[in-house]
Amino acid sequence: MDEEDLIRRLKQGQQWSCNVLVALYEERLLKLAWGITLDREESMEIVQDVLFTAIKKIDSFRGESGLWTWLRKMTINACLNWKRKWKRRFRWHHTPLESHTMIADQDTEKQENTPESLLQEKQKKRAVSDAVARLPEDVRVAFVLCAFEGLSYQEIAQILGIKKGTVSSRVFRARQIISRTMEKD
């Protein structure tokens, strides 16, 4: 089933097409949402809301850009608006801030498996994790769109409503902060 077909079926209200939409995009949207918010519950809520809204408003989707571009834009806006909502003050499920939570090591890229190299790898990941958590959100958003989505500075500038030069300096700042943290370790 191609994208046009999927959109047509969504507009017809076929339940199966909703399931397909969710299956196709939820993981990618979660990756993006988590990259921006660094919060599990928020990411899940945002992605659920975005998919729900997309299905509800599918009739208004004109197809000028692809489905992914549309979903991505909604997700970014939702992530950015989330911080302005007072709800962000709360942790709903009493879990600590996960900025320093290391994700279970699922690295399948095995270069050398010596204890030293594995430890170094782990330390690097922790350093990146810590540094990313310290990035100001506007810097992190630009960095995520660049590093995850491979968008050009011009595209990022349009999405965020800022100048191209600002995108360049934010992306650089993110890399600089992360690199410095890695150097300290």
Binding site: R88, R89, F90, R91, H94, L97
Partner: protein, 154 residues
């Protein structure tokens, strides 16, 4: 000339009279509610919880994303029913507390936060005896203010 014995009797009677009047006025005034108000600053500074609020933050700390909790003031008052008590809050705000009686086993409080000129927040709550409620959060520098109100009556 009054004898020493009569003088002692007189003094005792006067003391008794004063005590009776005091007790009478207490009864006449109605119930009194012991009310404790703690004002806390919550922000994302270096992780820390002041000693005087460990109990409170243990209860509510996990709900918030703040890392630093500092006790700004801690006052305990005996408030007769119907009496308004106005307390200053940081950043030129005021808290007005009025105990309004009992509803079953709950102490009724009217609480109001304002700037003196305009209201910010107002609520009527029924507080379980020996428990507290927390209100937040008026902005305070880089964080917010939390106001914890604890009520007690016999």
């Amino acid at each position: 000339m009054i004898s020493a014995c009569a003088s002692r009797i007189l003094k005792g009677s006067l003391a008794g009279l004063v005590l009776t009047m005091a007790l009478y006025s207490l009864v006449w005034a109605g119930p009194v509610y012991q009310t404790r108000v703690r004002v806390v600053s919550a922000d994302n500074g270096p992780a820390r919880t002041d000693p005087g609020i460990q109990d409170m933050i243990k209860e509510i700390g996990p709900v918030f994303k703040y890392t630093r909790f500092r006790l700004l003031s801690d006052k305990t008052m005996l408030l007769p029913q119907g009496q308004k008590k106005v307390m200053p809050l940081p950043e030129a705000r005021r808290l007005t507390i009025t105990p309004q009686g009992m509803q079953n086993t709950r102490i009724l409080y009217h609480l109001r936060v304002d700037t003196g000129k305009s209201p910010i927040f107002e609520t009527n709550v029924g507080l379980k005896n020996n428990t507290s409620i927390t209100i937040g959060g008026p902005k305070l520098q880089t964080g917010v203010m939390l106001i914890n109100i604890q009520g007690h009556t016999r």
